[in-house]
Structure formats: C-alpha cells, structure tokens
C-alpha cells in the first residue's frame, strides 16, 4: 500500500469507531489533526434549510475559529462552499491576502498562519466544509492535500446524519460500524450510484426539495427500513415507492 492509500485507509478507520452525526464529525476532525500535519480541524454545515454552523471539531479553539466565519459573514469555508472548490491559504500573513480582513485578523491573533477549507458535497451540491488550521505557514503537500480531500469526502456522512437529525440512529443498527475501517467508505460508495442519483431527482420532483435534502430523505428511508440506499433507489426508479405517499404514511407510524 503506498503512503497515500495508507493515509486514506487510516482516515476511514478513524470513522469506523462507531458514533454518528456530531460524534463522527469530532472523530474525523481529531483524525485530521493526527494524520494530516495540521493543528486544528472543524466541520461546518451551511446548506439552505439546514442549521448553519460548526458541527464537529478537534477542540474548542478550532470550533470557535470556525464559528467566527458565521459571525463575521466571511471566511474561506464560506467561499469554499459558494465556489465548490478548495480554498487553500498557505500564509494568512502574506501581504496580498486581503480576502477576509476581519476573519484573517482573528486567526492571526491566535497564532494561526495557514488555513485550508475543503468543500463537502452531497449529491454534487456543496453543503459544508472541512476547515483545517495550522500554526506554521506553508502549503499542504501533495499527499496531505489528497488526504484532506478524502477527509472532506468522508465528512459528507456526519453532515448527512445532521441534516437528517430527526432520524432515530439507535434503530438504524450498527451494521455499518463493523470496525474494519471500510464502513464509512462503503456507505459513501453506496450513495454514489447512478440509481441513487436518478431516484434523488425523482424525490426532488415528488417533494419539491433540493438534491441534498432528497438524498437525506432517501437515506433516512433506507435506515428506517433496514435497506441499502441502492435498494430504496431502485424501488423509487421502478415506481414501487413514492415519497409523496411515504411522507403521509410515515408521519403516522
């Protein structure tokens, strides 16, 4: 296994220790600090219709720094989500760095010199960001950047959990936290299937919601009925399951 692959598998393993939502997000942030040569990490959610804010961090300072962006209304993580691309700032003290005057000042004030914001996408929609903070200036080198991008992909899972916060995770079973480090990744892979995308589109039309929300609903249904995302997706595509009906029947159960 090359070192890049090892890094990815270590990140996945960090997610496998059980827990969902906030707990999983915290775990992933700690893993970023352990594995990616950064000093702090935080995950924020800023999708329309979802509560915006920081959910998950490696520690108190990272969480507060991340939250500053929402207070100030500026910062790399907001830009990463708006543009759907990574915002990598190797040196916040560089003279040409004037994108976020207030936020940059706050970071420099506590000794943070570099910040890397990676968008987290669900169903091709950026819904949040993974923010990485470092005391020393300097870029993420290739392998760290690869690992960061992978961590940002993994962060989609806790964000999906949080967007479906009304779900009863205790009823969802522990099947996916099988401890071999493969659970998070195979769950992500199960959501990246053509039938899931098609079903997402159909649910969007059925419920009048956006793609991320439609995917949350599909996944919620899978959990509640102990099915895979793909099974639910096929049922939708083949018209055996419709969410405009399901919304009514599920409300009463």
């Amino acid at each position: 296994m090359d070192s890049g692959a090892r890094l990815r598998s270590d990140l996945q393993a960090a997610m496998a220790g059980g827990g969902r939502g906030l707990a999983a997000a915290n775990q992933l942030c700690h893993a970023c600090v352990d594995l990616l040569d950064v000093d702090g990490a935080a995950i924020s959610l800023m999708h329309e219709g979802a509560t915006r804010g920081t959910f998950g961090s490696s520690g108190d300072l990272s969480r507060r720094l991340d939250e500053f962006q929402f207070t100030l209304g500026e910062g790399p993580c907001l830009d990463a989500v708006a543009k759907g691309e990574p915002i990598l700032v190797a040196d916040l003290a560089a003279i040409k760095e004037q994108r976020w005057p207030a936020f940059t000042g706050a970071l420099l004030g506590v000794g943070v010199r570099a910040v890397f914001a990676l968008p987290v996408a669900i169903g091709a929609v950026p819904v949040g960001a993974l923010d990485l903070f470092r005391h020393q200036p300097g870029s993420l080198h290739g392998e760290q950047l690869g690992g960061s991008l992978h961590a940002a992909e993994l962060a989609a899972l806790p964000l999906l959990d949080l967007m479906g916060a009304d779900l009863d995770w205790s009823a969802a079973g522990d099947g996916e936290s099988d401890g071999d480090g493969d659970g998070a990744w195979s769950e992500l892979a199960s959501l990246e299937r053509v039938e899931v995308y098609q079903a997402t589109g159909m649910i969007m039309a059925q419920l009048g919601v956006g793609p991320a929300e439609a995917l949350v609903r599909l996944r919620a249904h899978a959990f509640a009925h102990d099915q895979t995302a793909s099974e639910v997706a096929w049922a939708v595509v083949e018209r055996r399951l419709s969410f405009d009906d399901a919304a009514n029947t599920e409300g009463s159960s």
């Binding site: 169903g123 992978h150 299937r193 039938e195 159909m202 595509v237």
Partner: protein, 258 residues
C-alpha cells in the same frame, strides 16, 4: 471496409475533433461517442466507465439501456471484462461470453440475459495513467476485426483527450479535477433525468432523450441544462412539452444528430 463506412468514420472523428476545439460538454460528447461506436463498429452498443481519484469506476455514458444495466452490474458485482481491462490497463477480448462463465460467473449470466454474446474492452489511457475503459458489446459471438479494434482504441483515446481537455499531462491535479468535474456532471445529469422522469412519467431513457433534444434545439450544453433543471431555473415542463412537440412533428429526428 466499405467506402461508405470509411466516410462515416472520418466524419465521426472530424465531428468529435471539431467539438473538442469548440469548447464542449464532456458528458454530451462522450454519450455521442458511445453511439458512434455502436453505429460504426461491428458491435451493438458501447459504454464508458471512468475511474474516480480512488480508482473506483463509475458509469459515464452508454449507448443503450441494456449496456447501462450490464455496465452497472459489473460495477455492483465487481467482476467483468471492463473491470479487468481497467486493472490491467490492457484490452480484454471476450469473443464468446458463454465460454467465460467460470471467469465471471455473475457477469456472463447477466450479459447473456441482456442479449449480449461478446464483449471487447479497451482502456482509456493517458500515458501511464488508466482513466477508465470503453466497453464494446456485441449481440453475436466472434472476435472484432483488427480494424474495428483499432478504431475502438482510437475512440477510447478521443475519450481520454476529451476528459482531460488538453490539460498538460504532467499536471496531475488538473487531470484529477477534470475527471471529478466529469463525474459530478454525470451526477447532475442523472438527477435531472430523475426529475424529468417523475414529472413526465417517462422512463430514464426517454427522460434523457427529452433533455438532449431540448439542449440541442436550444444550443445548450447538456450538463448546463441538467444543472439548470436541478437548480429549478428551467421548468421540467418546458423540456417535456418541447419533446412532445418534436415527437409529433413530421420531421424524423436523425439519431446522433449533432
């Protein structure tokens, strides 16, 4: 090779290369490329699998629903000639699927059930990097003629070039982001198909046809149109009504019309 076929092949490559220059929509172009393969090679359909940065293959385009299903089945069961072709970075030829049931028990059964008898997979390569595979599916048994095989490889090469959009090969990050862009265009395209299928009570193939028809008649990029449907900037009804109108007019719609 008949003169007529030769002319068609040249025309297809000219059309592909001129679209490469013009600024193009990669998913649209590659969908067209799979239909070109089906039309011009001695095969019945073609499908394109593209690897993401983690080496996981995704279906990017297919010339028919049956090919789409069989390609997806390979991905689901993690077995089949296209996967082996990607792993090896070399062509895999299966002139007779019924002779390979031991090698790919699940895939051969599914492919034969779908009406295929032979498969030829060629890699999409960019120097040492394998980007994905082009799968050529035939309803008859038999090896592909050398001509057809090298044409298939040429199409696979065009697909690779289209995917990296002439980015410097050395710039691996640019290539990766280009591939990711193509994959996420695919996501949005499938979502748009779902919206149209639900709204117009169509199957996915019809939904795709309606989207493509609208894009071509309005000179829009397919993925841009798909994105605007998903973002609710273009009403699905508008596309569906246009499709119904076009179907009811007398003018025959030529397949592969550019």
């Amino acid at each position: 090779m008949s003169d007529n076929r030769e002319r068609e092949i040249v025309a297809a490559f000219v059309a592909l290369s001129s679209r490469l220059v013009d600024g193009y929509d990669v998913v649209d172009l590659l969908s067209g490329l799979t239909t070109d393969c089906a039309r011009l090679l001695d095969v019945d359909s073609a499908g394109l699998l593209l690897a993401d940065p983690h080496g996981v293959l995704h279906l990017l385009a297919a010339s028919s629903q049956a090919t789409r299903d069989v390609e997806l089945y390979q991905l689901q069961r993690a077995e089949g000639p296209c996967l082996d072709c990607y792993q090896a970075g070399a062509p895999v030829s299966v002139p007779d699927l019924s002779e390979e049931t031991a090698r790919w028990p699940q895939f051969t059964a599914a492919a034969m059930a779908a009406g295929f008898a032979s498969v030829h997979a060629v890699p999409m390569r960019l120097r040492d990097q394998v980007l994905g595979t082009l799968g050529l599916f035939g309803a008859h048994t038999g090896a592909l003629a050398d001509d057809d095989l090298s044409l298939g490889q040429a199409f696979a090469h065009v697909a690779s070039v289209a995917l990296v959009q002439g980015k410097a090969v050395a710039d691996k990050d640019a290539v990766v982001s280009q591939l990711q862009l193509a994959l996420s265009s695919r996501v949005v395209l499938e979502q748009a198909k779902g919206i149209l299928a639900q709204t117009g009570d169509l199957d996915m193939e019809q939904a795709f046809a309606s989207l493509r028809r609208y894009a071509r008649d309005h000179n829009l990029k397919l993925s841009a149109l798909a994105a605007s449907v998903v973002a609710r900037e273009t009403a699905p009804r508008q596309i569906l009504d246009h499709f119904t109108e076009r179907l009811s007019t007398k003018r025959a719609v030529r397949p592969n019309e550019l």
